[in-house]
């Protein structure tokens, strides 16, 4: 990474990612207008958002070619993030009986 040719290649990738993100944004809005059942709408919207987030993180934030140290930091963070998200679901499916 670093030569002008490499940077030019990266810039072309950024533009492709930008176009893809725009298309995915339109898909997100279209899905919401289909009035699908709530669980399916939630699942589809989150799948599209995850793809968009993955593109931003991988290419704009250069995670696709990052050092191992960063992957470790993010791996631990993501594990805790999902644990935090599981707590309300756990509470929902196993409520305290009074």
């Amino acid at each position: 990474m670093g030569s002008h040719a490499d940077i030019d290649r990266q810039v072309r990738t950024y533009i492709m990612v930008f176009i893809t993100l725009m298309v995915l944004t339109l898909i997100t809005v279209t899905i919401s207008r289909l009035h699908l059942p709530v669980p399916m709408a939630v699942a589809l919207a989150l799948v599209v958002a995850t793809i968009k987030g993955g593109l931003v993180a991988s290419y704009f934030m250069h995670l696709i070619s990052e050092r191992k140290f960063i992957y470790w930091v993010l791996g631990v963070t993501v594990a805790f993030f999902f644990f935090v998200l599981l707590i309300p679901l756990w509470a929902h499916f196993e409520p305290i009986k009074v």
Binding site: M22, T25, V29, S32, A45, V56, F60, F81, P88, H92
Partner: protein, 196 residues
């Protein structure tokens, strides 16, 4: 005393200190927003009825804001790429557009907020509005923070380019990482709050 490893990579991590610092900060930010997303999930799954966001909020405006923020992310990364090409003029142009996009995003958000307040739709009205204002308000503060750093790098902070261009490029990259994170959070906020 000079801060070590602002340009050179630390032998043990293979990264400069600025990059490690920004990623650790972003990790804490993931947990901050993660806690609020979990709160949203708990409130939504626990509520007997929950309104669809598009019945209360303005989806076309939020779609425009999504496009503005994604565009600002690409101009931010182009600003960094311009420095890598040693083209300071292009850096100024792309960074300037990024800052303007930030103003555009905040302007649209302010319009949305004003409209909601005018209709009496305040955070105290119901749980949906409380979590909507909390999440978008916190996100808005992050946009303001990112803009402040970008404006510094566009203006007075750009002096560093003349004396230490690599260090300046790294600063722009780190500021960009924060800006992309702000974009990433919005990518999830948009469907969760406005469309579902």
């Amino acid at each position: 005393m000079e801060i070590p490893y602002t340009v050179a990579e630390r032998p043990d991590t293979g990264l400069n200190n600025g990059k490690i610092g920004i990623w650790l900060f972003l990790a804490s930010e993931v947990m901050l927003f993660g806690a609020l997303f979990a709160t949203y999930l708990m409130m939504r799954t626990g509520a007997a009825v929950w309104p669809r966001g598009d019945t209360i909020l303005n989806v076309p405006l939020a779609t425009v804001n999504t496009i503005v923020l994604i565009s600002s992310s690409v101009t931010m990364v182009m600003a960094w790429a311009s420095l890598k090409r040693h083209d300071f003029g292009k850096f100024r142009l792309f960074m300037g557009i990024t800052i303007l996009c930030g103003f555009g995003f905040l302007g649209i958000k302010a319009f949305e907020y004003a409209h909601k307040f005018h209709e009496g739709l305040l955070p105290s009205k119901n749980t949906f509005l409380a979590i909507y204002f909390t999440l978008t308000g916190l996100h808005g503060l992050h946009v303001i923070g990112g803009m402040a750093v970008n404006a510094y790098l566009w203006g007075p902070g750009a002096k560093l380019w003349k004396t230490d261009p690599e260090h300046f490029t790294n600063r722009v990259e780190n500021s960009g990482l924060f800006w992309h994170f702000v974009d990433l959070v919005w990518i999830f906020l948009f469907p969760v709050l406005y469309l579902l």
